[in-house]
């Protein structure tokens, strides 16, 4: 592996980036003045559109058993019953009961209409204290998809222009520039040039046709260069026909995270169209949790038609390559004891579980599973854009503690992560909690275990 960034450089970049992220709120433009009735009307439109027969059935299936609280790390971390997952759907249920429910003719007389104040109060519940990790979905005896309904709540609040300032800043920024953290094309090219220099081979950008479209993200461009570098190095090593595109390099989608539908679809469509244009069979999204669902499950929705290309996240792509022998990795002489974090958006919501484990096995590392693993994994505590929301810091810490407690129990010496924002959240959590366990990118680890001689070919 070529060290594209040193530990010290990374720490410095992290400190700088963290400072920037912490000031997002102040960078955001003042919120738009909106009449309360308009907020309510817009939120209702989103709910009415979003509550389909499936959601309706599930809303009518809840018996208030309270099991979901026992799966939620924000409840477990705070013991505050208001963070009970299904409670977060109460507002939506009111709209459902009054407007769509088969009993709406009766419920209109009983259930109170929602107000703008209700919407404001809802912010804390669906942004600060929920990362839509979906763990509650798995404990629910009724199988209610609470997480996706929280996502619908976020959309409703976004429509009511009540998203948190940090996310609004990110969403507005991406709506305007197509990228995040100001990682514009110049910075992208600058970073690629720098990587190219260190890696010692040419990184294909804007090839007209390629089998694989590689996407990166502002977070990696700014900060986690090791992840991007590792991915590129491994692709190069495998001899894959890939390219990056200067007009479609941003994998993050703050439309999805903030709940802003327009931005969500716009960003997904942009990447999808680019993939179609280069004739990609596979789009590799970076180690960025939500970039995967945004494209894997969102591309076809954004275009309004099925898409031909596959979408894989880095760990999935290389994991499959390892599993079917296209990628050989060198075993470490002294195996390291590691724990693996399955990012919610890639694991529970994406079905990528065995691929990263295959990689760890291939390099001979000893994986100590956390008690909750694979689909039952705990969130890092700051997913779904929450790592940017300043006022949610205490909640993030509570969530982090729950997660880290499981990791500590495994007695692993290193935590392997293949998600930038998880990694970011772990780093911040470590600083706050005084933890020292190293958190490493899976992509960088793969690159570090590529055979020295050019051997394996795709």
């Amino acid at each position: 592996m070529t060290e594209v960034v040193t530990k010290q450089e990374l720490d410095e970049a992290f400190a700088m980036f963290y400072g920037m992220a912490a000031s997002l709120k102040d960078l955001a433009s003042p919120p738009v003045e909106v009449a309360d009735e308009e907020r309510v009307a817009a939120a209702k439109r989103v709910f009415l559109k979003g509550i389909d027969a499936n959601f309706a059935t599930q809303l009518d299936a809840c018996v208030h058993c309270g099991a979901c609280a026992q799966a939620c790390q924000f409840y477990l971390g705070t013991d505050d019953p208001k963070y009970t997952p299904v409670h977060k759907l109460d507002l939506m249920k009111r709209v459902y009961d009054r407007e769509i429910s088969p009993l709406s003719w009766l419920k209109k007389f009983i259930v109170k209409d929602i107000t703008a104040d209700d919407l404001r109060a809802q912010q804390e519940l669906v942004y600060d204290s929920c990362t839509m990790c979906g763990r509650c979905n798995l404990v629910c005896p009724a199988g209610i998809n609470i997480a996706d309904m929280v996502a619908l709540n976020r959309s409703a609040l976004a429509a009511a222009r009540l998203m948190p300032d940090e996310l609004r800043f990110m969403q507005e920024g991406q709506e305007a520039d197509g990228t995040i953290f100001g990682a514009d094309e110049d910075l992208f090219r600058f970073r690629m040039d720098a990587l190219q220099e260190k890696l010692g081979f040419e990184i294909p950008i804007d090839k007209p046709k390629a089998d694989v479209l590689l996407v990166t993200t502002g977070l990696d461009i700014h900060l986690f260069q090791d992840a991007t570098g590792g991915t590129i190095e491994t692709l190069h090593h495998m001899g894959v026909d890939y390219t990056l595109r200067s007009d479609a390099y941003e994998g993050a989608n703050f439309g999805l995270l903030s709940g802003h539908e327009g931005t969500k679809k716009k960003m997904a469509a942009k990447l999808a169209n680019a993939a179609i244009e280069v004739g990609a069979k596979v789009v590799i999204v970076p180690e960025c949790g939500h970039a995967f669902p945004a494209l894997r499950w969102g591309a076809a929705e954004a275009l309004g038609k099925p898409v031909e290309f596959d979408v894989m996240t880095v760990s999935e792509y290389f994991g499959k390559a390892v599993m079917d022998g296209r990628l050989k990795l060198e075993k470490d002489k002294e195996p390291r004891v590691v724990a693996l974090h399955d990012p919610c958006k890639v694991g529970r919501w994406g079905g990528v579980f065995e691929e990263p484990r295959a990689i760890l096995k291939a390099i001979g590392w000893e994986l100590h599973e956390t008690e909750s693993n694979r689909a039952y994994n705990f969130c890092c505590g700051g997913g779904a854009g929450n790592f940017l929301i300043e006022r949610a810091n205490p909640l993030k810490r509570a969530g982090y503690r729950v997660k880290m407690a499981e990791i500590e129990k495994t007695e692993a010496k290193t935590l392997v992560v293949s998600c930038g924002s998880c990694r970011m959240n772990f780093e911040v959590g470590k600083v706050n909690a005084g933890d020292t366990i190293p958190v490493e990118s899976l992509a960088a680890i793969i690159a570090a275990h590529l055979p020295k001689k050019e051997g394996a070919k795709a």
Binding site: E33, I100, P102, E175, A176
Partner: protein
């Protein structure tokens, strides 16, 4: 008449009936009235010293089963003693006098005992055509009103006079009603049953003579001591009910083994009467002991409460028609609600995503 001025004690003495016999009667009467055995002397004392009350018996739409039950003519028993205690001045079936003579006897008894005599009624009163039931050219309702006017109390013997009984059952062609619907200003004791247990009447009269009042009545005007408990609670087959051992048919093993007849439609649990304790035919048996479920004959409307052979806990009106109507109505409502819901969903798809800003805010609009 001289005889009527005598007390019971004098009459007993005259007839050579011993005090022991009388004590025996009083003891068994106390136990019928569910009074502690210690009450027997008080009953004895009262019966001995009181003048014999005059009793007028009116028969309307009835089958004479009640009279038969009371008199049990073929079997004079200790109960017949009560006829020594009363002066039965009018009873169409029993009295020797007939025609005008009989009516005259009644008028005389009424005049002599105005305000003090007892009226016993068996049979229901038709309010339809007066011709449905008349005696001596007088419709039942007229007779009842006339006779009851001077009565101290009315005792309704049998389900027909107490609750309307079988003439009252749907479709009630004669417009029959129970006595209580016509007479509202006199104390009424209902002694329902088809027929009623004879001892009940003697006991009521004994009570009336002893205490000068009617026994305690329940909300249906029945003496509580006889009608206070349901047949089920005192049924000797009750243990089988508790164990869930039910005869499934009248000829199965369970029936032979004397299991509970609940499943065969026994109305014991909802029928308030003393049959299970006093029994019939001088304490020989009662319907359940004979192997048939209770019909509930002493309860109001017993004839119209569904099959005698359907268990009590079954629904009487619920059927496939109800369900079909429900499905239909539900389908209409559901289709309407579904349509309305779809319209709301479609409404959500119209309109902008974001709430429009206040016009003069001058903020950038980015939707």
């Amino acid at each position: 008449m001289i005889r009527r001025q005598q007390t019971l004690g004098e009459r007993l003495e005259e007839r050579g009936i011993s005090r022991r016999s009388f004590l025996k009667f009083c003891t068994t009467t106390a136990s019928l009235l569910a009074l502690p055995p210690a009450f027997a002397p008080r009953i004895a004392e009262a019966l001995e010293s009181q003048r014999r009350p005059s009793v007028i018996w009116l028969s309307f739409q009835e089958c004479t089963g009640c009279s038969e039950s009371i008199l049990r003519a073929g079997s004079p028993s200790i109960e017949s003693l009560i006829f020594e205690a009363i002066s039965l001045d009018y009873h169409e079936t029993l009295q020797a006098a007939a025609g005008h003579q009989a009516e005259a006897a009644r008028e005389q008894a009424m005049a002599e005992n105005m305000g003090k005599y007892l009226v016993v009624v068996d049979g229901s009163v038709p309010l339809g055509n007066p011709g449905f039931s008349t005696v001596a050219g007088q419709s039942n309702v007229e007779t009842l009103k006339r006779v009851a006017k001077g009565a101290a109390a009315v005792i309704c013997m049998g389900t027909c006079s107490a609750f309307g009984g079988i003439p009252y059952a749907k479709p009630n062609p004669t417009g029959a009603v129970p006595v209580s619907e016509i007479i509202t200003d006199k104390p009424i004791v209902n002694v329902p049953g088809c027929p009623p247990i004879p001892a009940v009447m003697t006991s009521v009269i004994a009570h009336y003579i002893t205490f000068g009042s009617l026994p305690e009545l329940d909300d249906l005007g029945r003496p509580k001591v006889f009608y206070g408990q349901n047949i089920h609670d005192r049924c000797y087959r009750r243990p089988f009910y508790e164990r869930g051992q039910f005869a499934q048919s009248f000829d199965d093993e369970g029936a032979k083994a004397g299991w509970c007849l609940y499943k065969l439609g026994c109305k014991g649990p909802t029928t308030y009467n003393a049959c299970a304790v006093l029994k019939w035919n001088e304490g020989t048996s009662f319907p359940i002991e004979a192997g048939h479920g209770c019909l509930g004959c002493s309860e109001p409307n017993f004839w119209d409460k569904g099959s005698f052979y359907a268990p009590l806990s079954t629904a009487t009106e619920l059927g496939s028609g109800t369900v079909a109507a429900g499905v239909l109505a539900g389908a209409v409502l559901g289709a309407g609600a579904g349509y309305a819901g779809r319209k709301m969903q479609e409404k959500g798809k119209a309109g902008p995503f974001e709430a429009p800003p206040v016009a003069d805010a001058g903020q950038k609009e980015n939707s």
